[in-house]
């Protein structure tokens, strides 16, 4: 029986450890991270990395826009964003001054719409 190379053993243990830690992290995020029930707007809401923060912004926006309807807004947003990256859409809006206010914070209109969708779900 050949004696295993010490460096190989140490490397193997380290790799295994990394896999375990990663696995625990993945499971933990599934256990700890908030789950949301499916909505008809998940394709749009997926653009928002922090749904809770977006909800807060959206709630503030909706106070000044009580007529906002999710279904109609989603249709407009899908058409407006299309397959573009959100950052590119927002930069174009910012450049053209297509801005609005959410709780007095100045934000691009599309971002406000996405946040309002989050608040409605």
């Amino acid at each position: 029986m050949t004696k295993p190379d010490r460096r190989v053993v140490i490397g193997g243990v380290a790799a295994l450890g990394a896999v375990v830690v990663a696995g625990i992290g993945y499971e933990a995020s599934h256990l700890i991270g908030k789950h949301y029930p499916p909505t008809p707007y998940d394709d749009l809401l997926a653009l928002l990395p922090d749904r809770e923060a977006a909800k807060a912004v959206g709630t503030a926006f909706l106070k000044d826009h009580p007529d906002f309807t999710a279904k109609a807004a989603a249709a407009v947003l899908r058409k407006h964003i299309g397959k573009q990256k959100l950052d590119a859409v927002l930069q174009r809006e910012i450049a053209s001054g297509a801005l609005t206010e959410a709780g007095h914070w100045v934000v691009p209109q599309t971002l406000a719409g996405l946040c309002a969708l989050a608040a409605k779900t």
């Binding site: 928002l48 922090d50 912004v57 959100l86 930069q91 450049a95 801005l99 709780g103 100045v106």
Partner: protein
């Protein structure tokens, strides 16, 4: 020793200098210094002494109506040095567009472009002791910390410089009275008379000439000064008061044939906490938050509207100052998290600041001074100030703030919360700069201005006004540097007369 006390002058005396300067504030003192060693015999009359005196200060008391404003005896100081005895030392030249006639802005337009006073800025800068004349050039050189990245847009990193009283270890701004007293005493053709209150400007039989001034002291002395020429340098409030109250011949007051004296009063509105700026990357450069010494200038960074932006959007001067760090509330934190992530930048270290402002008001003839029936201890009618600020003034400034918000997003630097929207919200944080301007406005046409392009009162050949009282529009820069430059230009004009 050319400082004399008017209380020692026998009643009934008649003095006959070539020129009388009424008022020993920054305008009057700058004029006296500029006319040193000319052939003209000059007498500078100052109501106060070398220090604050309550009885003298009480001569300033009056009434205020309209928007909340400072009491008229609290917004200025009546002793040698005038308002420089309590100023903050903020200096900045007016923009070129501040002098332009703008078709969309009634009553706008100086009789000359900024180039007319530019040659006088270096000497004015020196008198004010604000260091090398750099201002916005500072942004082009090395900075201790990087300035905010704003990209292309309507606002830019601008700079104020500060008056620093030479040799004063506490960085106080220059108090003109104390600072220049020794220099004034050395001027052979000048006498400075303290405790001398002008209580009347008396016209000659030919009402196109001032014949003499009535001078009174609080101790009861009365005498006259009959000069060849008079310069009123008593500030925008008191100069108008003197002209209006001198109504024995010209019944509406001197220079007031077209009902303009006292109208168009202006100040810079400086409401507090007008917006909150969140900076994604964290702390901003210290030069926004406090003064720093850079390239020999004691300076502070601000944000100002560009001339192109003002012209294109029909806006007036808009100044943004960074005040103090403020915590983000839950909504603010959510807005930063959401927006920074959507823009692809890290906002986890974001830091927020409250913003202050300087608003240029549109000229308004109803923002005005009138005389009341009340009289002061010398028998002079007291003033009433009606102060106004329009919804358009607030709306224009808010447009500039919105543009700042847009630029912060475009450059991925941060974001802005507009904290004031309704008139009630603006008024709830209202404050004023104590920058008195406009009551004897300058215009070539006597129907539109009290003084002409040389600061001579229309129709009165030997009467001039020095100071920010002559500003027809106001910009968002503090007035002192600009009024001193304008005074130095007047000095050159007077030198031509005395030659």
């Amino acid at each position: 020793m050319n400082f004399i006390d008017a209380r020692q002058v026998p009643s009934g005396t008649k003095l006959t200098p070539d020129l009388v300067i009424v008022g020993g504030g920054p305008a009057g003192i700058s004029l006296a210094l500029a006319l040193a060693n000319t052939k003209a015999k000059i007498l500078l009359l100052e109501s106060g002494g070398m220090e604050f005196d309550a009885a003298t200060q009480a001569l300033y008391a009056g009434q205020e109506t309209g928007v909340k404003y400072y009491a008229l005896d609290a917004t200025r100081l009546r002793y040698l040095g005038g308002c420089t005895n309590h100023w903050g030392g903020w200096c900045r030249p007016l923009d070129e567009d501040d002098f332009e006639k703008r078709d969309w802005l009634p009553h706008s337009g100086w009789p000359f472009p900024r180039a007319e006073i530019e040659p006088y800025f270096p000497r004015a800068q020196s008198l004010i002791e604000a260091g090398p004349f750099l201002y916005d050039e500072l942004a082009k050189g090395p900075m201790p910390q990087p300035l905010l990245s704003l990209g292309q847009g309507g606002l830019y990193n601008s700079f104020f410089q500060f008056s620093v009283w030479r040799g004063n270890p506490t960085h106080l701004p220059t108090h003109f009275g104390e600072r220049y007293a020794t220099d004034l005493k050395r001027i052979p053709n000048l006498q400075v008379m303290l405790h001398a209150n002008v209580t009347g400007i008396r016209l000659a039989h030919d009402p196109r000439w001032v014949d003499h001034l009535d001078v009174t002291t609080l101790s009861g002395k009365r005498f006259t000064v009959a000069p060849r020429h008079v310069v009123l340098a008593a500030g925008a409030l008191e100069t108008a008061r003197l002209l209006l109250a001198s109504n024995d011949v010209a019944t509406a007051g001197i220079g007031n044939g077209n009902d303009l004296v006292g109208r168009f009063y202006a100040d810079h509105a400086i409401p507090r906490d007008t917006a909150t700026m969140a900076v994604f990357g964290g702390d901003i450069a210290g030069v926004y938050k406090d003064t720093q010494d850079i390239r020999g200038a004691h300076c502070r960074a601000t944000l100002s509207a560009t001339q192109d932006f003002k012209r294109a959007r029909h806006l007036l001067g808009a100044l943004v100052t960074v005040e103090q760090h403020v915590p983000l509330d839950a909504l603010g934190a959510a807005a930063v998290t959401t927006t920074s992530a959507a823009l692809g930048v890290d906002g986890s270290n974001a830091r927020a600041y409250s913003l202050g402002c300087g608003i240029e008001l549109a000229p308004d003839p109803e923002r005005r001074l009138t005389l009341t029936g009340e009289r002061d201890a010398l028998g002079m009618p007291r003033l009433k100030l009606n102060i106004t600020i329009s919804d358009d003034d607030f709306a224009r400034y808010r447009t500039s703030l919105l543009e700042l918000g847009r630029q912060l997003l475009a450059s991925k630097t941060g974001m802005l919360r507009l904290d004031r929207k309704t008139r009630a919200e603006w008024l709830s944080v209202m404050d004023w700069g104590n920058h008195h301007m406009g009551t004897t406005r300058m215009h070539r046409d006597p129907k539109q201005g009290v003084v002409d392009a040389n600061s001579q009162v229309h129709g009165i050949a030997n009467l001039f006004v020095a100071g920010s009282a002559v500003f027809p529009t106001y910009g968002s820069s503090n007035p002192t540097l600009n009024l001193v430059a304008l005074v130095l230009r007047l000095a050159d004009h007077l030198k031509g007369i005395f030659r």
